[in-house]
């Protein structure tokens, strides 16, 4: 993985000192909250319902055991013993003291981490496929150019006061595990007819109150010209994006208002004037970064491991866990292993300091020292030898991380909701907990199969409900919490937005409604058909009928 050189280190350390000064100016009263706000936001510090919240970047979701142990230490020393992994491959601490935030940032800088641009109207932490470097289907490791983007976007002087926040996601494969179609810019690596690698560029996707699957504005962008093209997109947006209404300020509104083709033409014009300049990185610089993402020292192993097969045969719980939590690796004899942060009754994405340390130990001992954070709020050990999978699983079970539910109905994405967030209309986490409890029977979950359920506590859609196979949106109806259900969304390469199925359900009734939907699907599915595919085949009618027939 990428290691800082003296320039990266200098910037992050100077940034800590800078923020220490800004906090001192705030605490002394020189800066009022209005002026301090954009500065703290650019360092990941939010003011939430109860306290300040610190959001730490995990660029493209990659970290090693040393960094994970530091996250654990921060949770223990500066917070209440846990952290929360988010849908944007960040980790959040909900209870830091403002005066201590500079110390936390200094602790992060020691392990080459930061909280720069994890909030505010700037280019946010860049995200990537959490299976990068391990997936069999990728053109190139997307983290190489995600790192290029991270550096270019850090303290960008022109784009630090954009109309609104700006999120970039990169995938190296046709199979989209980074939700590129619902980002401000989504980049998919592919090869052109000459076999050269480059990017397909999607712009103006997003969720929130105006969900849009973004249009492709360029089918093929040569790799070497990535930064000049991104600068062109950002410049058009910075100059022309709306600033009169924060709800209309994302780039998706600009793109939708002029149309994808016209927007592409505006970018093209700007890009023609910019390209060929100093933004083109020399090949040696790209090679320097790429070297950090070279494949780790994989062993030469047989494709099958008899011990692993025997364990799967003997241990039913292990076999069931393998069915959902293991994924094929590009290297023979290895597997990608997902760690669910969705235990029944838990808070989606939360991990205690002890659990973080357990994951760090397992990664160091068995996993070539690599850990990933997925945008589905889980962790990943990307490089595990098949023969070690059973030992890792035992370690995870011992740490309370053995949930065998990746991709199943209880693997819920949820925003913090009304329990933490001052924007929310309704609680999210308790709804997620009640649904997971209702479906606690693992055999039943495995029988139901892949089902992506996503919950947002308000229209800002931090739980990505629009792209859930089942999406749940909390709304306020005359002072009580109600939940609107959407069906048929997807964040993958077949991206689609869910459709509202009908009138909202009360807090008490929403879990029954989900169960009714699931039972309707189970009754109507064809052999091997996923919920999403069944919904696409059948349409909403049978689901509506089942939900509202008696009303």
């Amino acid at each position: 993985m990428y290691r800082y050189d003296e320039f990266d280190s200098a910037l992050v350390n100077e940034r800590v000192a800078q923020f220490r000064g800004q906090v001192a100016r705030r605490l002394s009263g020189y800066l009022d909250e209005d002026r301090f706000k954009p500065l703290r936001l650019m360092n990941g510090v939010y003011l939430q319902l109860h306290a300040y919240m610190l959001r730490v970047a995990i660029p493209y979701g990659t970290l090693d055991s040393r960094q994970m142990r530091r996250l654990a230490r921060i949770a223990r020393v500066y917070d209440r013993g846990y952290g929360h992994f988010t849908t944007r491959q960040n980790v959040q601490y909900n209870w830091p003291k403002l005066a201590e935030v500079p110390d936390i940032l200094a602790e992060l800088a020691e392990v080459e981490m930061h909280a720069i641009q994890t909030s505010g109207n700037c280019i946010r932490n860049v995200t990537a496929d959490h299976f990068a470097g391990a997936a069999a289907d990728e053109v190139e490791d997307p983290r190489i150019h995600a790192e290029v983007i991270r550096q270019w976007s850090t303290l960008h002087p022109e784009f630090s006061f954009l109309p609104r926040k700006f999120k970039i996601a990169v995938t190296g494969a046709a199979r989209d595990r980074a939700a590129i179609n619902v980002h401000d810019i989504g980049l998919q690596m592919l090869r052109n007819e000459a076999g050269e690698p480059g990017f397909r560029v999607v712009v103006g996707g997003g969720l929130g109150r105006t969900p849009i699957v973004g249009p492709t504005i360029r089918e093929f962008l040569p790799k070497a010209e990535l930064l000049s093209y991104l600068e062109a997109v950002l410049r058009v947006y910075n100059r022309l994006g709306r600033r009169d209404n924060p709800f209309k300020a994302r780039i998706k509104i600009l793109v939708a208002s002029v149309g994808g083709d016209a927007f592409a033409a505006m970018v093209e014009e700007e890009w023609q004037a910019l390209r060929g300049g100093s933004l083109d990185l020399p090949e040696e610089e790209v090679a320097r970064i790429a070297a950090y993402f070279a494949p780790p020292p994989f062993g030469a192993l047989p494709a099958q491991d008899t011990e692993f097969e025997a364990m799967r045969f003997e241990d039913r719980d292990f076999a069931r866990w393998c069915r959902t939590n293991l994924h094929p690796h590009k290297q023979q004899g290895y597997a990608i292993l997902s760690i669910s942060l969705k235990p029944v009754g838990g808070v989606p994405g939360d991990a205690t300091a002890e659990q973080m340390e357990a994951v760090a130990d397992l990664a160091e001992r068995y996993g070539l020292d690599e850990i990933r954070v997925s945008h589905e709020q889980n962790l990943v050990l990307p490089h595990i030898r098949l023969r070690d999978v059973h030992a890792v699983w035992q370690g995870l079970v011992a740490a309370g991380l053995g949930a065998a539910n990746i991709g199943l109905v209880s693997d819920i994405i949820s925003c913090p909701g009304l329990d933490y967030c001052n924007l929310a209309n309704a609680r999210s986490i308790p709804v997620a907990q009640r649904i997971a409890t209702r479906f606690a029977d693992l055999d039943r979950q495995h029988d139901i199969g892949e089902l992506k359920l996503k919950i947002s506590g308000c229209i800002n859609a931090c739980g990505y409900h629009h792209v859930g196979h089942i999406g749940i949106l909390g709304v306020d109806k005359k002072g009580s919490e109600f939940y609107q259900i959407t069906l048929g969304g997807s964040a993958g390469e077949d991206a689609s937005l869910g459709e509202i199925v009908g009138p909202a359900f009360s807090y008490d009734d929403v879990v029954d409604a989900v169960e009714t939907l699931v039972e309707t699907y189970v009754g109507l599915r064809e052999t091997g058909e996923r919920f999403l595919d069944a919904y696409r085949r059948l349409g909403s009618a049978p689901f509506k009928e089942a939900l509202y027939a008696g009303h």
Binding site: D5, F7, D8, A10, L11, E14, R15, A17, Q18, G21, Q22, R35, P38, L39, N121, Q151, W152, S153, T154, L155, H156, P157, E158, F159, S160, F161, L162, L227, R235, N238, R239, R243, A273, G277, S278, L279, L281, P282, E284, E285, R288
Partner: protein
């Protein structure tokens, strides 16, 4: 109000003149874009220093061919949150080759100075009370020293990390 220019706090000797007010007797007037577009011949006929205030919705290309007429261009920040003028500044400097004074006016302060400097501004009008003025220059120097190596090229002369890395490679190759 004073301005910070070339690392010094100096009195502002430019005056913005509203469109309806005659320019007689004003030695260094700053005019609106609308006035410039309507009266450019008369304004040039005065044969004196002229400044232009460019609204932040304007495309700098509209004055791209006339930049030699101005000794000063003011770009506006209605609030520090409105970053449109950063793009205008870079376009004026890097695309249109403007060499005169580029001044930031509006709701900006110490924590924007570094970004302004990197985007090609060479002066900033200091807003605020006496206490603000007293520490403005100190704040400017602090801001300039906060980040030693930027991560991307812009309109300033600071070499970005990618250039320094290239130099280091070249030096390693030569030895």
């Amino acid at each position: 109000m004073p301005v910070i220019k070339d690392g010094q706090l100096v009195e502002n000797d430019w005056t913005f003149i509203p469109d309806s007010v005659p320019l007689d007797g004003v030695s260094r007037p700053v005019v609106s874009l609308a006035r410039w577009q309507g009266e450019s011949r008369a304004l040039l006929g005065r044969n004196r220093w002229l400044g232009l205030r460019l609204p932040n919705i304007a495309d700098p290309a509209v004055i791209g061919a006339e930049l030699h007429c101005f000794a000063l261009i003011e770009l506006e920040f209605p609030t520090f949150r409105d970053g449109r003028a950063y793009s205008q500044a870079r376009l004026l400097r890097e695309r249109h080759g403007y060499l005169g004074e580029l001044r930031a006016v509006g709701g900006i302060g110490r924590d924007q100075y570094f970004f302004l400097d990197r985007c090609g501004f060479d002066s900033v009008r200091v807003a605020g009370d006496e206490a603000e003025l007293a520490c403005a220059l100190e704040g400017w120097y602090e801001a300039m020293a906060e980040i030693s190596v930027p991560m991307q090229p812009a309109s300033d002369r600071r070499p970005p990390a990618s250039s320094l890395r290239e130099r280091r490679r070249a030096a390693a190759g030569a030895s």
